[in-house]
Structure formats: structure tokens, C-alpha cells
Assembly symmetry: C2
Homo-oligomer: 335 residues x 2
């Protein structure tokens, strides 16, 4: 199997049809995709709808714990979950470089199918473009998802109040470090695996607490520190976190120390920051810990009136400093 | 204004936020986008929903009659219209090459805003990735749109019946030839302008004929010939068209003759193939001709039981031949 993608696969003609039929439609098959119309036609349950889009340009495309296909499903599913939505339908837009291995394309499509099935989302429509060798780097994937929001669920920064608790649903920095390690050929005593995972189970678990959960956001590019700053800015409140409460695995901690990097700015692809009201914090923490990839969840801090729009971190040595947004570039093409 | 896109604009941190605020949010501003959440949250009117996605990799990005921004809105709007949907909301995913001119990015964003406003669709959520110089060719844009389908409207190839009429809503081949001419530096006595346009007015005009309109499809990549073949295959019927009835401007005809190309395989970005039942063909033709970019609409042929799944064309000389799908590649990166 060393067939490769040709420019004619992007022509819109016979070879495009063959590629779509043999790779995508055969692997992702469902009633919407099989209809082969200009767009998918679905009936949504009543309620508010969330729509989210992400393009994925990660390099390398296969990495420990995932690949660009799995990641492209997780990224958009997690954004929908962060909106309080049940992920329902998804579109996929592929830009492929001429010469890309068809066997790799099939592997990626299979990985997407598996992750989508796990997350309960259906790939209902798609598009494939091919560009000349040298005009793209292998493959870029856009996924756009829609999901349905239950009545009464409203996860927005405007719901956050002083006194709320800030939860991280698990260890921070694994995705970023695993990509960096693979790129640079770094070896650690314990291998670092990306946390790439769809968070639909967390979303479902929290649906029972519509008022208690104020807001969720997934700390991808820019990491935990950047998400905390976004929430501080958008809520107009202060976020106070304790470094020693933030879950970081010892291998990520050690590697970051050695490399002079900060796990708080590393990308995560299977984690959520959840802000929760004080009334049901204990109940919600118990619930979160029952979710398969959230056993390690921790309360990392609290919301306060001041300093408005800013994040303060209490370091392990007890000092307090401002934790800013990511400035400049960190690791390019991490997702 | 010679500032350029930097890798840090794709970091997810401070410079990403600045780029989004200063370019996209300021130009596309609306309540959904301004909320700056992980996804947009909307309430849809009841009914069936259509979802369609397209990635745009056209080169050159500015061309006579449009640019990649305008095209990216038209392409997805027209796919929604072809589904019988009223275009409502859209996501935009950008992949930008490091070093891209910020002034060009702004021009593209403004062109998108203008076209979206014209077509009555709102850009509600987005994503921007930056890749290193040489890892992409300038800018690639994905748009994904959702629209609402009126009850009773069902435009699918399965609705097509023998005896139906086939309409092309205007001159064929303008987009393809204009891109080719610009790439190759060809000059014609009459300049060839892309037909790139959102077809929402056609969509609205045809809503009054839910049973009469069987199916619509926009002949983009692969051209008119490929769309006719798709409809023949999907309906299991034969499509008989007359070459002399197909509207082609004299400059496109002349240029294609000279270049050895066939306008029937050239891409169009503001045209629709409409299949209509015999009962209201006259009424529908009159209605279509009232739409601003469809004055030149023409009945180009009819549907028959045989040859099942195939397209026959009667040439200007009176001979009949099979009109196949586009084989191999035609013009790469036409959209």
C-alpha cells in the first residue's frame, strides 16, 4: 500500500468521487453522509444549539496517545462540551498535500471514526482539497461541530461569581510535552503520552448541575494559564490559584524544569477547567472523579472580587505573583 | 501597513487574542462572535437543518470578480441553498502562513463580512492557525454553514423524475476561465470576470415551488458535466442536454476553443443546476429570470428513463455523445 494522493483526487471529478467513496464514505458511513448531497440534512431536537470550529495543523501527525485525526474530533467535541452541549453532528474539511500516503489517510479516517463513535458524534458532511507538493505540510483538518444545549444550562464566564471554585480535571501539560518530546527526540524514564481524549463523559456527568457549574473551558493552546486569564478578563473577577494544588505528573514537572518550560502554558487536549459554585462543590468534585479520565481532578483555586481581570498564583514557596497570558510563541503547531 | 502574520499570532495566547480582536471580531462583530466562547450558542427556528463545509485553497487569492474571502462565503452559502436551506450561521477556520500580510488578511476579512451580510448569514465562531513559512501557500479558509429548511422542501436527486427539465441559471465557465487567465497572464478582448456570487436570492425565489423544484446543485469543481453525471448516477435516470442550449459567453467559448478546454468542465461559483418538474417549468423559469444574476438562465435539457445513470449531449452539429464526469485533473486549486 504505497499509493499516494494525486492532484486529480482534488479535481471534483471521478477521482475525487472514488477517494471519497473508498476512503471516507466507507469508513464513516451513516445515513447523512451516504446521501451524498451538497450538505447534510438533519432534524435537531429543540433547544439552543452550539457551533464550534477548529483547524488542526499539528506536527507530527502521529504521536504517542493519538494522531491528527483523533485530535481533530476531540478538539471540537471538547469545545462543544465546554459550551454545555451534547455533541451531535460534525463536518470535516481536509486539505491534503499531493503525495500524501493513502494508507496514512485511511489510518487517520479510521482514527476519526473510532473517536467520533466513542464521543457519540456523527460525521455528516465533508470536503477534500488537494494542493501541490510543497503548498501544505502533509495534511490539515478542519472539524466543525454542532451540539444541543439542555434548557437551563448556561456555561459562560458571566455566570462566574466571587467565591466560586476552580477545578482542573486532571494532570496538566501532557499533550504539549509529548509533542515536544517526539519532535526533539527526547526520551524520559516514563514515556509521556498525550492526554488527547473526547470529554463527552464529563459533559454528561455535569448536566445534573446546571446552576452549580458556572463555566467550562478546555486549556488547549496557551495552556491553563491562558484559559484562567481569559476567564478572569471575561468575568471581570480575580482568579487565585495555588501552584501546589495544580495536578502535574512528576515526569512532566521534571522535564519542564530541565527544559526551562512551564507546564501551565503547555497545551492539553483532554482536560477541562471547570468553575463551580460553593453550594455543590463537594458533590460536583465527587461526580467529576467518577469520570474515566478525570480521576485526578483537583480544586486548584478560587475566584475573588480582586484583582479584577487578573490571575494570581501562590507559588510552592508561598510567594504570590501575577500569572499572565501566554506571550509570544510557545510550541508552534501543537494542535 | 506592511505588518505580517507571525507564528505567535497562532499561539493561542496574547497575540492570538489581539489578532482576533483587531481583525476578525472588529470586522465581523455580532452578538455570537462577541461572546468569545469556545463555540457560538444560537436558537434555531424549528425544522430540518442543513450543514455544509468547504475548504478554499484557490490561487491567486485575489482575482477578477472576487477573492478567497468572498469565495469562501459564496461556496458554503450556495451549498446550503442547494439543500433548500435558508443560510443562517457560519464558522470560519483560517490556516495562515507565517509572513502573510496583515493588510491582505484584513482585506479578506472585510470581503467576507460584505458577502456574508449580503447573503444574510452571520459568522458566529472561528479559529485561526498559523504555520511556518513554506508549510502552507498563503492562506487556506474553511467555512461551515448551517441553514434551516422549510417544511415540505426536499431537494434531492431521488425526487428527479423522467420528463423533468434541467436548467442552468446562467453562463457556464466564467470562474474557471478567469482564474486560468489570471494565472497564465492571458488577455482577452473582453475581460473574463469570475461569476463568484452568493445564490441566496435564487434560493428564496424557489421556496414558493416546493414540489416543482426537484433538486439543485452548484457546478463548482468538475463543472456542469460532473454535476449532471452525479445527478444521473444518484437518480438512476438519464440526462439529455443540448450543447446549443447551454449558455456560454462568446469570450469563454472562444478562449476555450483556443486553449483546447471544455467549458462544461470549468468551475462556476455563482451558478446552479436546477431540475424542475414539467407542471411548473414555465412559471419557475420566469421566476428564476427575475433573480439578479440569473437573467441568462436557460433550459439545457431533459431527464429520461434511459440511459440510466448517464448523460448524453447533442452537439451543435446534431450528433449525440456520452458526456462523462471530469477525469484526471483539470485546473487545480480553482476554489
Amino acid at each position: 500500500m504505497d499509493s499516494r494522493v494525486l492532484m486529480a483526487h482534488g479535481s471534483g471529478g471521478l477521482m475525487s468521487q472514488q477517494l471519497v467513496d473508498e476512503v471516507f464514505r466507507s469508513i464513516w458511513s451513516n445515513q447523512y453522509l451516504d446521501a451524498a448531497l451538497d450538505g447534510a440534512q438533519m432534524t435537531l431536537p429543540p433547544g439552543k444549539v452550539a457551533m464550534s470550529t477548529d483547524s488542526f495543523v499539528i506536527t507530527p501527525i502521529f504521536f504517542p496517545g493519538g494522531d491528527i485525526g483523533k485530535l481533530s474530533i476531540c478538539g471540537t467535541v471538547n469545545d462543544l462540551v465546554a459550551c454545555g452541549a451534547k455533541p451531535m453532528y460534525m463536518s470535516v474539511g481536509l486539505i491534503v498535500e499531493e503525495g500524501f500516503l493513502l494508507s496514512d489517510l485511511r489510518k487517520i479516517a479510521e482514527s476519526m471514526a473510532k473517536t467520533a463513535a466513542e464521543a457519540g458524534i456523527q460525521i455528516v458532511t465533508g470536503d477534500t482539497k488537494v494542493v501541490e507538493r510543497g503548498s501544505a505540510d502533509g495534511i490539515f483538518i478542519n472539524t466543525t461541530g454542532i451540539g444541543v444545549i439542555n434548557e437551563g444550562t448556561e456555561y459562560t464566564p458571566q455566570q462566574i461569581k466571587a467565591g466560586d471554585y476552580i477545578i482542573a480535571t486532571g494532570n496538566i501539560g501532557d499533550h504539549g510535552l509529548s509533542i515536544l518530546a517526539q519532535r526533539e527526540g527526547l526520551q524520559f524514564s516514563t514515556p509521556v503520552i498525550s492526554d488527547c481524549a473526547p470529554m463527552y463523559q464529563l459533559g454528561e456527568a455535569l448536566l445534573g448541575f446546571p446552576g452549580g457549574v458556572r463555566c467550562m473551558r478546555d486549556p488547549t493552546r496557551g495552556g491553563l494559564a491562558t484559559v484562567l486569564n481569559e476567564l478572569a478578563q471575561q468575568s471581570g473577577l480575580g482568579m487565585l490559584v495555588k501552584e501546589k494544588s495544580i495536578p502535574v505528573s512528576s515526569v512532566v514537572k521534571g522535564a519542564c524544569d530541565m527544559l526551562g518550560m512551564d507546564p501551565l502554558y503547555m497545551a492539553n487536549e483532554g482536560k477541562m477547567v471547570v468553575v463551580v459554585g460553593p453550594d455543590c462543590i463537594e458533590e460536583i468534585m465527587l461526580k467529576i472523579k467518577t469520570v474515566s479520565n478525570c480521576h485526578n481532578a483537583a480544586i486548584i483555586g478560587q475566584v475573588a472580587e480582586e484583582p479584577a481581570g487578573m490571575v494570581l498564583i501562590e507559588t510552592e514557596l508561598g510567594a504570590q505573583r501575577i500569572l499572565g497570558m501566554l506571550e509570544g510563541e510557545h510550541l508552534p503547531r501543537i494542535c
